[in-house]
């Protein structure tokens, strides 16, 4: 009976599906048309405004920036600058990640949630500039001078994300584990951490997106290499084409790391988990 029904529905559905598919395709085409139009309009306005609205020295157009790119690569500082900035991000954000995760995990206990609440609020709400200057004036050009602001700006984001995961912990599983007398460290390793893993990944991605900005900011004040340093020098020399080329090349690189590399690892890591990888 059901088999017959299914067979009867099959041809009708396929026609319907075809119609739907065609509509979807048309919609996709329309979407791409507008998307490309958006690119053309924005880049066109940008290119035309340089020279018309603002002087070309003040607002270099996209073509000029693409032309400048080989020039800054030719200076030889391109890769070392990227390397310097990346090292800072990895060190500073790595420490923030450890600290933030520890705080996030501790918020499983209500007392610690209260204990760290204001610290997190401070970390989330205070501008990075403040920490950059405070770190610098206390530690000067020592590593702590740039580690401190990166940690202060990113740890709260990490811990808040992990705390969000903590709040959604499967209580029934933990209760069951407790009922069966599973020791604390095994409960943490086999229930809490696997449940928190996607939240940790999300925290890494958000933290990174904020972290690289703060890193560049600290370099503006306290470094003699790195992207921030190049930005400061070129803006002081009024070379806005060089300035934008540095900024945009690192911007693209950071977005690539964030959206492609980190997301790729995330997907690979969670491909066994249906609800996470398909969500």
């Amino acid at each position: 009976m059901t088999a017959v029904q299914e067979r009867q529905e099959q041809p009708g559905k396929s026609a319907e599906e075809e119609r739907l598919e065609a509509e979807l395709r048309r919609e996709k085409q329309r979407k791409w048309f507008w998307r490309i139009l958006g690119y053309i309009v924005v880049l066109g306005v940008w290119e035309l405004s340089s020279g018309w609205v603002l002087e070309e020295n003040l607002l270099p157009g996209p073509i000029r920036i693409i032309q400048t790119f080989p020039e800054i690569v030719a200076t030889g500082r391109f890769f070392s600058s990227f390397g310097a900035t990346l090292t800072r991000i990895i060190v500073g954000f790595g420490i923030a990640l450890i600290l933030g995760s520890a705080i996030g995990l501790l918020t499983q206990i209500k007392w610690f949630e209260n204990f760290f609440r204001d610290f997190q609020t401070v970390g989330l709400t205070s501008p990075g500039l403040v920490w950059a200057l405070v770190g610098l004036i206390i530690w000067g050009f020592q590593p702590m001078g740039w580690i401190f602001p990166i940690v202060m700006v990113t740890f709260a984001l990490v811990s808040v994300n992990i705390a969000e995961g903590v709040r959604s912990l499967p209580k029934d599983l933990i209760d069951m584990a407790k009922a069966f007398g599973t020791p604390q460290h095994r409960r943490q390793r086999e229930i809490v951490i696997p449940h928190l893993a996607p939240f940790i990944f999300t925290a890494v991605r958000f933290g990174f997106s904020i972290g690289w900005k703060v890193t560049v900011l600290t370099e503006v004040f306290s470094s003699n290499e790195g992207i921030g340093f190049e930005m400061r020098v070129s803006s002081q020399l009024f070379q806005l084409d060089v300035f934008f080329t540095w900024v945009l090349s690192f911007f693209v690189f950071a977005l690539f790391l964030e959206k492609v590399v980190l997301q790729y690892f995330e997907r690979r890591f969670f491909h066994w988990r249906q609800e996470v990888s398909t969500a």
Binding site: K110, F115, T121, L129, F201, L217, A279
Partner: protein
């Protein structure tokens, strides 16, 4: 064995009550836990200061003295604390107002039409991901020192958050309720008032909150490079004057200001706006939504790991 473990939780509540008078119970109080953090911080600060490692280390008493002097209008700087904060707030509010109005318009367009969404989406994301530092340096060179640079930086920093939240709000309007309202012949203006605005409210609130706080961060940075006064410029001024206690003192003003905004402005507005919602539980639910939304606004493509998140693309 199992009988014993079962008995233990049953016995715990009375034991806790007995402890209420002891020191342990005192420390266990939530308010004590909250106050313990700043206390420990100050204790650590005093301890490190007592070690006398370096001469530039900001001593707590000098920081306190500086802050007290600033509050009493005794300052070496060109403008006192209140003038500085007032000027920054005027800039912040004008920039915030523009980004709310323009952002809401674009966000509504993006939420209602897929073509408009496709047109703007990538560029909104690009502006969202652009560091405020870039705007600060660039606008400083273009407009020189004045109001234009900082206000524009505030707008550029805040507007993507507004756009994304409003767009998401429009997408999440309850369609079945709209269908029902039109079936019962409810007039358009009542539909807008009773359906669209209430359902947009949490998203508008999230937009305002994050637009405001991100705008503030952008403004402070722009004031360093594109202005010669304002809160951001002032902390840089003390940094350039090499007064570590003044930098730390000003940092505390920033922290206090942020706290004030969080606890006394946003939380109060929030309570007022959502007073009509039935229970305290509902408010918590919305808060979660807002929080998630913040995360979503930060990185809409990447929010896929959050279990509740439903992404269309």
């Amino acid at each position: 064995m199992t009988a014993v473990t079962e008995q233990v939780p049953k016995q715990q509540p009375p034991v806790k009550k007995d402890d209420d008078t002891g020191l342990v119970a005192f420390i266990k109080k939530p308010i004590v836990a909250r106050l313990l953090f700043p206390t420990l911080f100050i204790a650590l600060w005093l301890f490190v200061d007592g070690l006398e490692i370096s001469k530039v280390f900001p001593a707590p008493d000098r920081v306190a003295q500086f802050m007290w002097d600033e509050l009493r209008l005794e300052t070496l700087a060109r403008t006192n604390l209140y003038e500085t904060l007032g000027l920054s707030l005027v800039r912040l509010f004008s920039g915030f107002a523009v980004s709310m109005v323009v952002g809401t318009a674009i966000g509504l367009g993006m939420g209602l039409s897929k073509s408009v969404d496709a047109f703007f989406h990538d560029w909104v994301m690009a502006i969202l991901a652009m560091p405020a530092l870039v705007w600060a340096l660039f606008l400083g060179l273009v407009f020189g020192f004045g109001h234009t640079g900082p206000v524009l930086a505030t707008i550029l920093a805040g507007i993507p958050f507004v756009i994304i939240n409003v767009r998401e709000g429009v997408r999440n309007t309850p369609r079945d309720l709209f269908d029902m309202a039109s079936a019962f012949g409810v007039p358009q203006n009542r539909m807008t008032r009773h359906l669209l605005i209430p359902s947009l409210m949490p998203f508008m609130f999230a937009a305002a909150r994050y637009g405001f706080s991100v705008g503030w961060k952008g403004l402070v940075l722009a004031e360093v490079f594109a202005s010669d006064r304002g809160m951001g410029w002032m902390i840089k001024f003390w940094y350039d004057a090499h007064r570590s206690f003044a930098v730390v003192g000003y940092a505390f003003f920033f922290v206090v200001f942020a706290f004030f905004l969080e606890k006394f402005v946003f939380d109060k507005i929030y309570e007022r706006t959502f007073r009509w919602r039935p229970s305290a539980g509902a408010i918590e639910l919305v808060e979660e939504e807002v929080e998630e939304h913040f995360i979503d606004a930060l990185d809409p493509e990447g929010a896929s790991t959050l279990p509740k998140q439903i992404r269309e693309d």
